[in-house]
């Protein structure tokens, strides 16, 4: 069996006296589609922040593509292929949609050691990503002109512009309508088929079940289940955590 793409070992994080993550273990293999669920405050976003370097974990370690990530700051992890999208879209408001995509292309793809990317190649990739999320027509507009679903798509396209090996999509469907959710799920599956490993954090179970090949459940900072989605949702501990035992 090949080594996992992402290996989280004994990861813990505290905020003062509050234990946000308690010795979490997570392993993701290349090409997988993993769903990460849990009630509000269960530590999902904290886990993402620790994996991507936005927060520093007190104990445990994160290994990505065979390399220890501990001690690396967020942009260094991004450059190694670990991308994320944010729960609340955080576009660069003073930049056009195309410029929002150009930033990660310039700072990640073009900045990788040994890579020389010409201006033309960058522009082609920019258009390619915008057409992937159906935003090409709005390339010269600004994020303030976008709808909620378009904003989510821009967020995903920007994460994809870093040319990631692993994409962590943090609640990319919050606040969207049924058809918009379908749109985003289809997009994530398309990205996965293109070779990107994806961890999807979500509350919308219909989307989670459709997307995930494996489901991981966090409750109060602890992993309580990890397995096939159909099995996990029948797990008594998971049912208890969601519905109250």
């Amino acid at each position: 069996m090949s080594a996992p793409l992402l290996q989280v070992e004994q990861l813990s994080k505290r905020f003062g006296g509050f234990i946000a993550l308690d010795t979490v273990e997570l392993s993701v293999t290349e090409g997988e589609r993993v769903g990460l669920i849990g009630p509000n405050g269960s530590g999902k976003s904290t886990l993402v922040n620790c994996i991507t370097g936005t927060l520093h974990n007190e104990t445990g370690s994160v290994t990505f593509a065979g390399e220890k990530m501990d001690g690396l700051i967020a942009h260094q992890r991004t450059r190694r292929g670990l991308a994320r999208s944010f729960q609340l879209p955080r576009p660069f408001m003073s930049m056009s949609i195309a410029e929002n995509i150009r930033v990660p292309l310039l700072y990640t793809v073009a900045a990788r050691a040994g890579h020389h990317v010409s201006h033309g190649e960058l522009e082609d990739r920019c258009h390619e990503l915008l057409s992937l999320v159906a935003l090409e027509a709005k390339a010269s507009q600004y994020p303030r002109d976008l709808t909620q679903v378009e904003m989510r798509k821009l967020e995903l396209a920007r994460a994809m512009a870093t040319d990631p090996k692993l994409l962590i999509a943090d609640e990319s469907m919050a606040g969207l309508s049924h058809s918009e959710i379908e749109d985003i799920v289809a997009l994530l599956i398309k990205l996965n088929e293109a070779g990107v490993t994806i961890i999807m954090i979500e509350h919308i179970m219909r989307a989670v079940m459709r997307f995930s090949q494996r489901l991981v459940v966090l409750v109060s900072g602890k992993k309580i289940a990890d397995g096939k989605p159909d099995d996990v949702i029948k797990d008594q501990e998971v049912v208890g955590a969601y519905l109250g035992s």
Partner: protein, 334 residues
């Protein structure tokens, strides 16, 4: 417009101003023009950190004074070679001293840039108002150091006597005016290059959202350090000729609040999103202040800045450049 063309255009405009002022046959025009040019450099320098990166620096006076006191330091060494060194060393050093002002400008820029780097390391993990207060504190600390450093004059101040005239330029003020014009060209070219580069995109992401910038691979801390060094160095360069312009420097004048206020107000009034903003703001405010100085009183200078700043913050928060851009956008739509 390509950069070499941009530089040539600036040089032509600068030369035209120089020849026009020279034609008036009165050095006052050069004195007033020098002040406006100095403010263009200061405002442009402030805008690199404050406008492009969104980090408000209240310590501009500190960086400006660092440049000025670097000049005073080397000037005083030149004045006391015989007392400080042995006869042979003094004779050797007398070939170097007095150091030409353009070299002092580079030295002032280097010192202020280094202090900018140190300040950056210490304060850039602070954001918003905390960063602004830290830069203000830096200026206060530097002023206290200078007040207690007798070699550069301490609280009494120091005299710097420039020669009456320089070959080619004639009166010394014309030479300083030309030198400051070169600094304006350097500052504006630098700002314009930043805007159109990868660095400019990086600065803008820092201003918009640092967390998202890091997630896009932008090394935010490194870029902020570059911005503080560039901004600090340009401010120091603007301050280096100041002792030769004014003839007598004391902490109260070099660390004057007006430098901090003007270097913030000018880009805010002109517009912070582009290199044109600080240029427009500095020309407008600098000229108004010079007019007030000769017609009413220089005590009105800060009042003018304050009133204009309040007006622009309310009516046109994106400055004059923003107003023009909005007007063009409306015309294009209709």
């Amino acid at each position: 417009m390509r950069t070499p063309v941009f530089i040539v255009v600036q040089a032509v405009v600068g030369l035209a101003c120089y020849l026009l002022f020279d034609n008036f046959g009165n050095d006052y025009w050069f004195f007033a023009g020098y002040t406006v040019l100095q403010y263009i450099v200061l405002a442009t320098a402030w805008n690199i950190l404050g406008g492009y990166c969104g980090y408000v620096n209240f310590g501009s006076a500190g960086f400006f004074a660092l440049g000025a006191y670097t000049s005073v330091f080397f000037y005083n060494i030149g004045q006391s070679l015989d007392e400080m060194f042995s006869e042979s060393t003094a004779a050797l050093l007398s070939h170097i001293f007095p150091i030409p002002v353009p070299i002092l400008v580079l030295a002032g820029g280097a010192v202020a840039g280094l202090v900018g780097l140190g300040t950056g390391y210490l304060t850039l993990r602070l954001r918003g108002v905390f960063f602004a207060i830290a830069t203000l504190a830096l200026a206060v600390v530097l002023e206290t150091l200078v007040v207690n450093w007798q070699f550069v004059g301490g609280s009494r101040g120091a005299y710097v006597i420039p020669p009456n005239s320089v070959p080619v330029f004639g009166p010394y003020i014309q030479y300083l005016f030309a030198l400051m014009m070169v600094l304006v060209i350097v500052a504006l070219t630098c700002a314009r290059l930043i805007e159109r580069s990868r660095l400019g995109y990086g600065f803008a992401t820092i201003r918009d959202d640092e967390l998202a910038a890091e997630a896009c691979g932008v090394p935010t801390l490194r870029l902020k350090l570059i911005a503080t060094v560039l901004s600090g160095a340009l401010m120091g360069m603007a301050g280096a000729p100041f002792p030769f312009y004014i003839g007598y420097v004391e902490p109260g004048s070099a660390f004057n609040l007006s430098y901090a206020v003007n270097s913030i107000a000018m880009p805010m009034i002109g517009g912070t999103s582009s290199w044109i903003g600080p240029l427009v703001g500095a020309i407008l405010l600098g000229t108004l202040q010079q007019l007030a100085t000769v017609t009413i009183s220089s005590v009105l200078n800060l009042l003018i800045v304050g009133l204009l700043l309040i007006g622009f913050v309310i009516v046109a928060p994106n400055g004059i450049v923003g107003l023009v851009q909005d007007w063009i956008a409306k015309r294009t739509k209709s």
